[in-house]
């Protein structure tokens, strides 16, 4: 007899939904797109369903990656911070760029979100390859993907070192000697690499998770290598269950090949979700959304569930019990419709089937992912 571990379920809350024309669907409130209360309600719903995380995409340009008529985005890290005090349990995954953003800034931003959320921050590593973003900064020409990912790899290395630069017990507040910290436990990182030279330490004390989870989207050999080296959570975008199992095996093999324990990685599949009372109704919804897009435009990629909540629960159960993936990033086509369906219909079925938790196992996102809290790499062994 085998016990099926709980699957991991995240929710992509970017924009108005994963479908580029979601903002035009009935019931959407386009004027509230940038309203933090709207986001707060979505997070509360996700938290009610004890989902592992919510995720926010980001980019410095106005939607270069999505063929959408929607325009405008807020800074994802600050959105996560804004949502932190009024939520608990749920992980907050913010995308932050590495091509133009200084790793020192990334490190303290994610650490600070981890402090304000008491251990629920995570960083999805972003990189920029477009002329458009390069022109917004005017510092260097656009980089191809391999080059941008190589830079991201080094940036993650720097950030992770900065996250370890304070040992957990560096703050001593020793009144008799007047010392606030034990400076032997605050370390320069002295990173002198190909792209960055960063002295360190971080200005921010080690955060509740120590190392907030690093999320990497895989879609190329270079991003696979980045994930294998640096990621805790690896997002794949498979076509179907078989493809998911193959991609998961590939990620785990790549991690093992660089000396990591593959069980320390969580491989989660993107799943585009359109719910309906019947499969026919769901298909109708998607057809209506697609009809709003320019003719011939692709509105989604990879595996999609277009159907009932029961069928989505069955699919998640199937992929989970067969070990195809460690979890999912559910990408609701339209947030204002599909998030409620996921929370109120899909999740109860998954709990009843014994493939999803009913409570959070701890307080931090690492707890939820089943990842131990690492000791700082600079910590000296205690005899």
């Amino acid at each position: 007899m085998t016990v099926t571990p709980s699957t991991h379920l995240g929710l992509d809350l970017s924009d108005a939904g994963a479908h580029p024309e979601a903002w035009r669907a009935t019931g959407s409130e386009p004027h509230r797109l940038f309203d933090p209360e709207r986001l707060g309600q979505l997070v509360a719903t996700a938290q009610r369903a004890t989902l592992d995380y919510v995720l926010f995409d980001d980019a410095f340009a106005l939607h270069t990656s999505r063929n959408t008529t929607l325009r405008g985005r807020l800074d994802a890290a600050l959105v996560s911070a804004r949502l932190a005090p009024r939520s608990s349990g749920i992980g907050l995954v913010a995308t932050v760029d590495t091509t133009h953003t200084e790793p020192f800034h990334v490190a303290k931003a994610i650490q600070t979100i981890d402090h304000v959320s008491r251990g629920r921050a995570a960083w999805q590593v972003g990189w920029s390859t477009t002329d458009e973003v390069a022109a917004a900064f005017g510092r260097k020409p656009a980089q191809d993907e391999a080059d941008a990912v190589a830079e991201a790899d080094e940036a993650v290395d720097v950030v992770r070192k900065l996250w370890d630069s304070w040992e957990d017990d560096a703050e001593i507040r020793d009144v008799p000697t007047g010392r606030f910290v034990d400076r032997e436990k605050i370390h320069r990182i002295d990173h002198d690499g190909v792209r960055f030279a960063v002295r360190g330490s971080s200005i921010t004390p080690r955060s509740p998770q120590g190392q907030p989870p690093v999320v990497v989207r895989v879609g190329s050999p270079s991003s696979l290598a980045l994930a294998a080296h640096r990621a805790d959570v690896v997002r794949i975008r498979p076509a179907d269950r078989g493809d998911a199992a193959l991609q998961r095996a590939e990620v785990r093999a790549a991690a093992a090949a660089v000396g990591r324990d593959p069980d320390e990685l969580r491989v989660v599949a993107d799943l585009f979700v359109v719910l309906g009372g019947t499969e026919h109704a769901a298909r109708e919804r998607l057809a209506l959304l697609d009809a709003l897009a320019a003719p011939g435009r692709r509105t989604h990629e990879g595996a999609a569930h277009v159907g009932t909540a029961a069928d989505l629960a069955a699919t998640i159960e199937d992929w989970t019990t067969t070990g195809a993936v460690d979890g999912f990033t559910l990408r609701p086509a339209a947030l204002h419709t599909d998030v409620d369906g996921i929370a109120d219909e899909v999740v109860p079925l998954l709990r009843a089937a014994g493939v999803f938790r009913a409570t959070y196992p701890g307080t931090t996102f690492r707890d939820t992912l089943g990842l131990a809290r690492p000791v700082s790499r600079y910590a000296t062994a205690i005899a």
């Binding site: 933090p36 008529t69 807020l74 911070a81 804004r82 005090p85 200084e102 917004a136 010392r179 200005i203």
Partner: protein
């Protein structure tokens, strides 16, 4: 006194910093990093109807004699995520954050402040500071690249670009016409193109204009360059001139620069940082102030302070004994890094301090306490309310940024006991008049699309 109407006082609550003002050795000194500390001060400040909460920034830990300086509070959060989180637990309070202009790019920082303004419903403010030092630069990919003389030039250009980016979206840019598929109003978002000595920026800004149009801009530099920059650019000057006479002189100087720039005196607020110590009697308050000063200047802290001036190791001296008899090392200006050294040539300073210590019978610690004590209000609540009100009504300032010595409860008594007295005399609001920090400070809201400079150009988005 003239017959003009009573000026309204503006007050900010400064989160305790990583310097000797902050006392951490007391049992009731709380965490400088736990969000509960930030939340307490912010909520308390909002309950008292203060204008804003203020959070400073650090980009490298201070070092002394080549090691992390461990006698003051060490470690702080990133500024903007804390302010974004505070936006969730407050409704009206302004949220002011220091961000260095030297180690940030305009596109990114403009986007972060626009986001904070949107997420807070119009309460964002940016305290601009400049730096050029390679010590801080060692944490960034371009290192200490900026010549000292160019730091305000870069800051001014960065602000000009940020303003162009904020102005590139109209206020009502979101049309949200679902049927027509028009999310934005036609022509409501314009491309920005800028080419200057420090920045080349071109593109369509991805983030909507905040409720304030532009976040409020604070500026803290005190040099002649800093004052010019403030007069030309800032909405608020965060000054260090908290004594009455100094304050009046500074106030006249900076406000006097405005007319030539086409600005009214009301368009720039001058808010010195200050401390408050209360007591039931004046003598009681003075005794409390004396105790706090001794907590702030510990024996080792006093020695470290002298070492900054002497430029040599003085740990063999007793802080409760007389001043060191060794001569200062004139060339070792870098003994402390990550904080500005104010003394260029230490020899006259040392001579003066020795004379004073001799004349007044001061130990090292006594002397350091004496030379680092700056103004601040000490007295009964009524006396402090009188002094604050007088400073504002007689143009020594437009209000104050209150700096506590304890985290997070250090301002509780001022907010509970002094603010109501200011309200009683009609000098401080009893209710917020509007939702935004611009409303609190009585600042105009900039119109969109107004930015037009020699090298700034906006094109409709095609």
């Amino acid at each position: 006194m003239t017959n003009r109407p009573r000026k309204q006082i503006h007050l900010g609550a400064h989160f305790p910093g990583v310097n000797s003002t902050t006392v951490w050795t007391e049992p009731d000194s709380g965490s400088q990093i736990d969000f509960a500390s930030f939340e307490h001060l912010a909520r308390k400040a909002e309950d008292a109807r203060l204008d804003f909460f203020f959070l400073a920034e650090g980009l490298r830990l201070r070092e002394h004699k080549g090691e992390i300086f461990d006698l003051d509070v060490v470690g702080r959060p990133d500024t903007l995520p804390v302010l974004a989180a505070l936006a969730a637990v407050t409704d009206r309070l302004g949220l002011v954050g220091t961000i260095n202009t030297t180690f940030n790019e305009p596109w990114e920082i403009a986007r972060q402040f626009a986001t904070l303004d949107v997420l807070s419903g119009g309460r964002a403010a940016w305290n601009l500071v400049t730096s050029s030092d390679a010590f801080t630069g060692a944490n960034f990919r371009r290192g200490g690249f900026l010549p000292y003389a160019e730091r305000y030039e870069r800051a001014a250009e960065l602000v000009a670009v940020a303003r162009a980016l904020w102005d590139s979206w109209d206020d009502d840019a979101v049309l949200g016409d679902r049927a027509a598929g028009a999310f934005l109003r036609d022509g409501a978002v314009r491309d920005v193109e800028h080419a200057g000595p420090h920045f080349r920026v071109r593109g369509t800004f991805p983030t909507p204009r905040g409720p304030q149009g532009h976040p409020v801009l604070f500026q803290a530099g005190d040099s002649a360059d800093g004052r010019d920059f403030a007069a030309a650019t800032a909405d608020v000057v965060f000054s260090m001139h908290s004594t009455f006479e100094d304050g009046q002189a500074f106030y006249r100087d900076v406000k006097g620069r405005l007319a030539a720039l086409g600005r009214t005196e009301e368009s720039l607020k001058i808010l010195p940082a200050t401390t408050v110590v209360l007591g039931d009697t004046l003598a009681d308050a003075q005794e409390r102030a004396r105790v706090i000063r001794r907590q702030q200047v510990s024996g080792p802290g006093a020695i470290a302070f002298l070492e900054q001036v002497w430029g040599v190791d003085l740990t063999s001296y007793d802080p409760e004994g007389p001043l060191p008899d060794v001569e200062p090392d004139v060339d070792n200006a870098d003994i402390t890094r990550g904080r500005v050294r104010h003394v260029k040539d230490p020899r006259p300073v040392v001579a003066q301090w020795r004379a004073r210590a001799e004349a007044e019978g001061l130990s090292i610690r006594d002397l350091v306490i004496a030379v680092t004590t700056r103004g601040g209000f000490v007295g009964t609540p009524t006396q402090v309310a009188d002094d604050i009100d007088r400073a504002v009504q007689e143009d020594a300032s437009d209000g104050f940024i209150l700096v506590p010595h304890l985290t997070p409860h250090g301002l509780d008594d001022v907010l509970d006991r002094v603010v109501p007295l200011l309200q009683e005399r009609g000098s401080f609001r009893t209710e917020y008049s509007g939702p935004t920090l611009r409303d609190h400070l009585g600042l105009d809201r900039p119109a969109p699309g107004r930015t037009r400079t020699a090298h700034l150009d906006q094109q409709p988005v095609g």
